[in-house]
């Protein structure tokens, strides 16, 4: 395919992402509409002074129409002003900047584990369909999907941190201060998070490999006399590698969600901790800010995947 067509495709994908991003930000802001009663009074909490209520009214511009509120909120958000926490009055952006690296480290480690363990399991299962390996992998996969990852986290803490004393049980260290300290704190939460990922990668890889291995193309290769292992490694995996991209971006979204709960188990001061505390204290600007940041990350990642997908897969275009 010509280069210019590729470029057109990328531009089209970028344009398609615009309404999704706009709508997501609209949903994030629209959450405010779910607050029952007078928003300012509810958010100010019990025994709030009139000045406090007026301040919140001012932050959200509650006296103006909803779309004007949304517009000015979005305008400020795009410029990095996510307003301030109602509890600590710290700027939401700097809270996110402080918390996000912890979350990202855990998710990145978990993703790495999911791929390193999940890919061989998926290949092994697909290459010996119906064998004990296949059954074993599928059993592990269904366990991995069904196990509550925060419970797995608790079990890991009980075993590896409290009984064996191998790794720290809770807390986190910024990676910029102490690299190995940060990694050793992130390993257990990442393991808890990776279980579902391993299951997902192994399952998806198995099913797409099985599909390809029973296709016409592979039958032809068989007829040509190519050995089964050569077919699997050279033709099967090449076709599947594109699907893996989709799985990765899907997994990232899921892990970002799951880490919220896992962080609570390991007392990691990440995005999950930030939003859970904010939700409990009805610190609404923080809630919106965290959701906004996460959605932005997910949408960007989906976009990158989409573009990579269309570059790698010659059939699309």
């Amino acid at each position: 395919m010509s280069l210019s067509r590729k470029r057109n495709l990328i531009v089209r994908r970028l344009l398609q992402a615009v309404p999704v991003i706009l709508l997501s930000t609209f949903i994030v802001f629209g959450l405010l509409k779910l607050v029952p009663g007078d928003v300012a009074v509810t958010l100010a909490g019990d025994n709030a002074s009139d000045a406090r209520i007026a301040e919140i009214r001012h932050i959200y511009g509650l006296d103006r129409s909803f779309f004007v509120q949304y517009g000015s909120w979005l305008w400020k958000a795009v410029h990095g002003d996510l307003s301030n926490s109602l509890v600590s009055s710290e700027s939401v952006l700097s809270s996110i900047a402080r918390c996000f690296p912890h979350t990202l480290l855990i998710v990145a480690l978990a993703m790495l584990m999911a791929l390193i363990i999940g890919i061989p399991l998926g290949i092994a299962a697909a290459s010996r369909q119906g064998s004990w390996i296949d059954n074993f992998v599928m059993t592990v996969a269904s366990l991995g999907v069904a196990i509550p990852n925060f419970w797995l986290g608790m079990l890991l803490v009980a075993f590896f941190a409290l009984s064996l004393n191998w790794l720290p049980a809770t807390g986190a260290v910024p990676i910029s201060e102490d690299f190995w300290g940060a990694i050793s704190h992130a390993i257990l939460p990442a393991c808890a998070l990776a279980a579902g990922g391993v299951a997902e990668v192994a399952r998806q890889l198995r099913s797409s490999l099985v599909e390809i291995m029973s296709s016409q193309q592979v039958r032809t290769l068989h007829a040509k006399g190519l050995s089964p292992s050569a077919i699997l490694w050279r033709h099967g995996l090449k076709n599947v590698s594109v699907n893996l991209l989709t799985v990765i971006s899907l997994l990232f979204n899921r892990m970002l969600a799951a880490t919220v709960v896992v962080e609570a188990v390991f007392a990691v001061p990440g995005m999950g901790n930030l939003i859970v505390n904010a939700a409990i204290h009805r610190d609404f600007p923080v809630v919106q800010g965290v959701v906004f940041a996460m959605v932005l990350v997910v949408v960007t990642l989906n976009l990158v995947t989409d573009i990579l997908y269309s570059i790698l897969d010659p059939r699309i275009g």
Binding site: L23, S24, V145, P148, A257, A279, V298
Partner: protein, 291 residues
């Protein structure tokens, strides 16, 4: 007379089909039996649980398994087995509430988008895409932050998060069905859009929906457990499996065995929902027959 005979015949036919499926699919049968037993026990909680879920026995705080407290007791001396049974009621209620909510929102939206097509479909699809780009539990937490903390609010938010998944599924299925001959002929006979959707399109989208709903129940169960574990779901002194785990975690160094019963309960129930969903997928899919 003839009608009842036919209806009876159909029912017998269905029953024998069901018993055939039940015997041929061991995994599905075990899952279904487990879930039915769980629902019955939960419904009968006040009669089958040995103690009240909030009754405190101060001689038994963090007691290990014993004849008086089969699964031990928590840090307030409340019987773990009783709380597990009552917690099951709460967890199952929450899961069904969330998935019910997702069905009520997602199915009509998907039907409309798929059937009407055009700009309606375009807009609804973009909205669905946007909702799907939210990490599920994060959006649920945000909605609880807005609505206020509590099990019902939490599960409404999970329902809102799940609805787009069902909507997308129903939309895709409706797109296939809407040009089928029987829908065309209904249209020719002047049936109203709502009648066509309700009588002709919906029944033909229902099979994948049933499968997805079963899988979503597992997701909702895990979501409830997560929200309650975080303190955003069920409020004390009420029990749910997630809340029990939060409590057990605080006392992990003294009584680590307290975290096994609720965790295993969540795991087994989620496994059962997932396995049942997979079995239904195979049983309901006409192209998979005879495999």
């Amino acid at each position: 007379m003839v009608d009842t005979a036919i209806a009876l015949d159909q029912r017998v036919g269905r029953l024998s089909k069901f018993s055939k499926w039940f015997r041929s699919d061991l995994r599905g049968a075990i899952s279904l039996t487990f879930l039915v037993a769980l629902i019955v026990i939960s419904a009968l909680a006040p009669w089958v649980s040995p103690y009240s879920p909030t009754a405190q026995d101060f001689d038994a705080t963090l007691a290990p398994m014993s004849l008086t407290h089969w699964l031990g007791a928590d840090d307030l001396g409340r019987d773990t087995l009783s709380r597990l049974i009552y917690g099951g009621t709460a967890s199952l209620y929450a899961s069904f509430l969330a998935v019910g909510m997702a069905i009520v929102i997602g199915v009509p939206v998907g039907l409309l988008a798929g059937y009407l097509g055009g700009w309606v479909d375009e807009i609804i699809s973009r909205v669905i895409d946007s909702f799907l780009s939210f990490p599920a539990i994060v959006l649920a937490i945000a909605v609880t932050g807005a609505l206020g903390i509590g099990l019902t609010n939490g599960m409404i938010s999970v329902g809102i998060v799940f609805a787009p998944q069902l909507a997308r599924l129903v939309r895709a299925r409706t797109l296939v069905v809407r040009n089928d001959l029987y829908v065309d002929s209904a249209r020719c006979f002047g049936a109203s859009t709502s009648r066509i959707l309700w009588r002709h399109v919906l029944p033909n989208t229902i099979q994948p929906v049933i499968v997805q709903v079963t899988l979503l129940l597992a997701g909702a169960l895990l979501a409830e457990a997560s929200l309650s574990f975080l303190g955003l779901g069920i409020q004390p002194p009420n029990a749910s499996w997630g809340a029990m785990l939060a409590r057990a975690y605080q006392n992990m160094e003294i009584a680590p065995e307290q975290m096994y019963p609720p965790g295993l309960a969540i795991l087994l129930t989620a496994l059962a929902f997932n396995a049942l969903g997979e079995s239904l997928r195979v049983a309901l899919d006409p192209t998979m027959k005879g495999r």
